[in-house]
């Protein structure tokens, strides 16, 4: 079974540029998460979806960040006008509701450097 895949693996931007990250969750997983992980910190939840619906985006900086999951499968996280403070690894995870475990399966992440 293929794991969670993310692309690109790395991105380097100047401040003010835009970038999009793409995530393909494990097949059949209805819940998808985006996390931001600054260097030497734990992952911090930005937004999560159940199918195509946003369940919680309270930690997503809505002025510059947006996330969609239009068909309830793949998802895109976009940063408009990136800032140096956005430098971090962006992780995508997926899980399946209704099972015994609440296990989230993470992708390898996209490392973003904003100069």
């Amino acid at each position: 079974e293929a794991g969670v895949t993310q692309s690109p693996r790395y991105a380097v931007l100047q401040e003010g540029q835009a970038v999009s990250f793409w995530c393909d969750p494990i097949s059949g997983h209805d819940t998808l998460y985006w996390y931001q992980q600054p260097r030497d910190q734990g992952p911090q939840l930005l937004v999560y979806f159940r199918d195509e619906a946003v369940i919680d985006n309270s930690q997503l900086p809505s002025d510059r960040f947006s996330a969609v999951r239009p068909k309830g499968t793949n998802s895109t996280l976009k940063i408009q006008s990136a800032k140096q403070g956005d430098t971090a690894t962006y992780l995508c995870a997926s899980s399946s509701t209704g099972g015994e475990s609440d296990t989230q399966y993470f992708g390898p992440g996209t490392r973003l450097l904003v100069l």
Binding site: Q41, G42, P43, A93, F106, P108
Partner: protein
């Protein structure tokens, strides 16, 4: 605010030794999870221990949970160089939202 926190920033042990990582948390939980993250990879769940459980094992790993003191520990026996990673505890406050601590960096030396 940090709802879960590992007690140490970093630990080092020699291969074959045992090691324990401790975690404290500040909120009522439905479960506590331990994750491992190796360099260049995403976190991987090691153990999920529910609030009505006191201990759970997974091979060389053993997790404990004390809800009265709001603390948990993860012990690794017979450590190997490949156990070198960052270990996170993470609290479940509802079924599908997990809050991570800052992590403990474990180095296993040959």
């Amino acid at each position: 605010s940090q709802l879960a926190e590992e007690n140490l920033w970093a630990l080092s042990v020699h291969e074959g030794e045992s090691v324990t990582v401790n975690c404290s948390y500040k909120t009522s939980i439905t479960a506590l999870q331990w994750y491992r993250q190796k360099s260049g990879e995403g976190p991987a769940q090691l153990i999920l221990i529910r609030s009505n459980e006191r201990e759970k094992r997974n091979g060389r790993l053993r997790a404990t949970l004390d809800t009265s003191s709001q603390s948990s520990s993860l012990s690794i026996t017979a450590t190997r160089c490949e156990d070198t990673a960052v270990y996170f505890c993470a609290t479940d406050t509802n079924a599908y939202k997990v809050i991570f601590g800052k992590g403990t960096h474990l180095h296993v030396l040959p």
